[in-house]
Amino acid sequence: MSFMFTVSPDFTPDHLSGWYIFNTWLQKQTDLAIHLEMYNDFHSQRDAIQSDKIDLIYANPFDAAMLVREKGFQPLVKALGESDEAIIAVNAENDVEDVVHLPDGLKVAYTEDPDVHMMGMIMLEPGDFDASNITPVLSDTYVLVAKHLLKGEADAGIFLAEAYDDLSKMIKSQLRVLVRSQISVIHHSLMIGPNLLDKKDQIQEVLVSMTNDEKGKGVLTSLGFNDGWEKVENDEMEFMIDLMDTLTM
């Protein structure tokens, strides 16, 4: 029997090959047949989850509630020291200092990345902005969010903080950060589905031990998780789900 593994479509494109390397490594370590299926968007990935096709997922925090409460998934690990943070940025020539002073009919560029979009919209709330009074400028990537700002096609952009920090120096020099979130407790997690739950302890153990050998370290580097994985307890996941629940209101 082959198990199906998938990764939240908001992964950094540079790490695509890293996930395939990780999957090969995981199969060797566990003696399980695992197929990695990458979906292009959240919609098609959620369809696959709903059809019970997925057994292992590196999940966006936005999907964690559905995975745990409707599909019986449990958390395994998260990248040590990593959390999802968002940034509101504007064109550097824009002299606005506070979201309160952004213009009515605000044009906001953002991606479909659901947790980053949610955090970004929360940071715009103090300026009385919400889904009903902004003009969305939907963008495929964070580089395109930046381009919309540079071309004046958007007044503000919502970025995953890590993606903003990875923009080229030249692009960043033409942008300015208005707000950076410091939430710390929202993060992606590797989660395991009901068909694999009897292997949970075994998989969790090999993952948290990855930094102990050279091969494992190399695989982590290809994922961009140099510090390795840390265990996520069920209670901790429940706490994050409750937190996300409060933020989607």
Binding site: V99, V100, I122, M123, E125, P126, G127, D128, V179, R180, S181, Q182, I183, S184, V185, E238, F239, D242, L243, D245, T246, L247, M249
Partner: protein, 158 residues
């Protein structure tokens, strides 16, 4: 436990009032007109038992409230109760979460130093194995327009 506020903790000129909290407990409140602005990009997070006793606070909670973590854990959440907040708002909160629903509202919170800060608060019941194990409260930076509306509205609700 919850104790009266102490003059030595207060920064600036203060007024004094006795506030009736839950279960006929009353508390001497010393409060000032000094507002601490809500920091950008942060969330204040806490969890409580079903009875409203604080079990967890994050760093932002500690910084904004002015209390230490040791002072907060085990204290009732009403340690933040400001005399300008109408009791009807908290009645609505408890009525809502006791039904298992989420509550959201704008709240003026009291600091240990007698000052205050406005938040947009969301409270949800933590349901574990079908039982309410406690509540999670998350506060974020409020819209100033909404705060100004509350400043006008709340005095009419006493």
């Amino acid at each position: 436990m919850i104790s009266d506020m102490k003059p030595e903790d207060i920064v600036g000129d203060y007024k004094e009032v006795i506030l009736d909290l839950y279960q006929s407990i009353s508390r001497k409140i010393l409060y000032t007109e000094i507002e601490t602005p809500y920091p950008d990009g942060k969330l204040i997070v806490s969890t409580t038992t079903p009875d409203g006793v604080i079990t967890h606070v994050n760093q932002s909670f500690i910084e904004m409230s002015g209390f230490t973590e040791e002072e907060l854990i085990g204290a009732p959440h009403s340690i933040l109760r400001h005399p300008d907040m109408p009791p009807a708002a908290f009645q609505d909160l408890w009525d809502t979460v006791n039904k298992g629903d989420k509550w959201q509202g704008f709240v003026k919170n009291l600091r240990k130093d007698g000052g205050y800060y406005w938040v947009k608060a969301t409270v949800i019941p933590n349901v574990r194995n079908g039982q309410v194990a406690g509540y999670t409260s998350v506060r974020r930076k409020p819209s100033r327009t909404k705060v100004d509306e509350c400043i006008k509205l709340y005095p009419t609700l006493f």
